[in-house]
């Protein structure tokens, strides 16, 4: 019994869609789970009724709506509601694909850096373009904090600029690394259970209890992480957008 904790991240082309240059564009298992996430979100948001007293599905849809809306209002102000569809899409896409991905034998879309990086760059360029379009050159005043003595201002500005351009890196790697590490840890601990059972017989069955308990605990933690990382991604998006909306702060 060989444990391969990396196997779960493999991209398997299901069928070829076409070619761009010398790249083959395939519909992969990743694409399939993106489709699943979009389908789940659409069903949740559209198939739930619009009753005065909401049912379960409608409650979930409305709680998601209110949750994202209040997150935006508290971090980016009322003006941030312009970006409500974007942030809601980001949050729901990451949250649902993370939660779907935690089901055994499924694929986790956000365990690939290319996906999280694309989403982080989407946010980065949205902030940059909207910030410059709305505030002009005043947008770049976010690099000049108030009340800093003149002689260390160049250093502070250098750090601010650097941190601004490193935002997409930390933004994407945080999500990617959390999902990747969590899934590897789950797989390793679950693999111990099977390995002990197969290799040591009855003793192994007894010995497998501890890693099994750990797997269960980790699984619960991963459910939390799946939601939490989506929330962190969304709230960081709000905070970055707040810079574009109110560059004076």
């Amino acid at each position: 019994m060989k444990i391969d904790p990396i196997h779960q991240f493999n991209i398997e082309p299901l069928f070829t869609l076409g070619h761009i240059g010398n790249h083959t564009i395939a519909f992969t298992n990743s694409s399939l789970y993106m489709l699943v996430a979009v389908a789940v979100i659409s069903i949740l948001m559209l198939a739930s009724g619009t009753q005065l007293v909401p049912g379960r599905l409608q409650s979930v849809a409305e709680i998601s709506y209110e949750f994202v809306a209040s997150t935006i209002r508290s971090t980016a102000g009322a003006e941030g509601m312009k970006f409500f569809p974007l942030i809601f899409s980001l949050f729901m896409f990451i949250c649902v694909s993370n939660l779907v991905g935690i089901i055994p034998y499924t694929f986790t879309v956000s365990s690939h850096l290319i996906v999280t990086a694309a989403l982080a760059l989407l946010v980065f360029f949205t902030v940059l373009i909207y910030g410059v379009a709305k505030n002009g050159l005043k947008f770049f005043s976010i690099f000049v904090p108030h009340g800093v003595p003149g002689y260390i201002l160049p250093l502070v500005m250098f750090i601010e600029v650097l941190s601004f351009f490193l935002r997409p890196v930390s933004h994407s790697v945080r999500l990617f690394a959390n999902m990747l590490a969590g899934h590897i840890a789950l797989k390793v601990f679950a693999g111990f259970v099977a390995m002990l059972g197969f290799s040591l017989g009855a003793l192994g069955w007894v010995g497998g209890v501890l890693p099994l308990a750990l797997t269960v605990a980790l699984y619960a933690l991963e459910i939390l992480v799946a939601f939490l990382q989506a929330y962190v991604f969304a709230i960081l998006t709000c905070i970055y957008l707040n810079d574009a909306i109110h560059p004076g702060h």
């Binding site: 991240f9 990743s30 005065l52 809601f88 690939h112 996906v115 790697v173």
Partner: protein, 188 residues
């Protein structure tokens, strides 16, 4: 899974320098750049689809439901407030009606009592006057009766004194001296 990663870089994949660290991975799937183009294309397609669904259908629908509920709650609360105001006004009207009725009743009571008192006073006065008149008449009768009686007493006394003197002395006394003696004794 194909190990031929890093051979060709897509334009979008090349944008992420940190992703290129996967060259040392030796088959670590997240760092296999041959998959990047497929993932980016499907992500772009599905995220745009999701964004359109969310912004055009999902958020207006759910937001509308929440707003409709809020409006309904606000409307119901306003309706309840209106009804409460109405019942308060009705209660106030009832109370003022009750108070005016009570004061009217009191006024009527006072009036009728005053009238009864006045009537009683008038009757009593008339009765008193009647009684006083009767008393005065009676006193006059008594006085005249007494005067008559007193004059009778003088005559009787004079007769009795004349008889007594005649019996004692055998002499018929002079009427004038008897009368004078009687008057003197009546006065004395």
């Amino acid at each position: 899974m194909a190990e031929s990663h890093g051979g060709a870089k897509g334009p979008a994949a090349g944008a992420h320098t940190e992703a290129d660290g996967g060259h040392h991975g030796g088959g670590f799937p997240p760092f296999e750049s041959s998959n990047y183009a497929s993932q980016l294309v499907s992500l772009a397609i599905f995220f745009v689809v999701l964004y359109v669904i969310v912004s055009k259908l999902a958020l207006p629908k759910v937001g509308g439901a929440i707003e409709a509920r809020q409006n309904k709650i606000d409307g119901d609360l306003a309706e309840a407030q209106k009804l409460k105001d109405q019942s308060d006004a009705a209660l106030k009207a009832y109370e003022s009606e009750l108070a005016s009725a009570r004061s009217r009743a009191q006024a009527i009571g006072n009036e009728s009592r005053d009238k009864a008192n006045a009537q009683a006073d008038a009757e009593r006065k008339a009765l008193e006057e009647q009684l006083a008149a009767k008393l005065a008449g009676a006193e006059k009768t008594i006085a005249s009766t007494r005067t008559a009686a007193m004059s009778n007493v003088r005559g009787i006394a004079a007769d009795a004194a004349g008889q007594i003197v005649q019996q004692l002395t055998g002499v018929v006394p002079d009427a004038a001296s008897v009368n004078a003696a009687v008057d003197a004794s009546l006065k004395g």
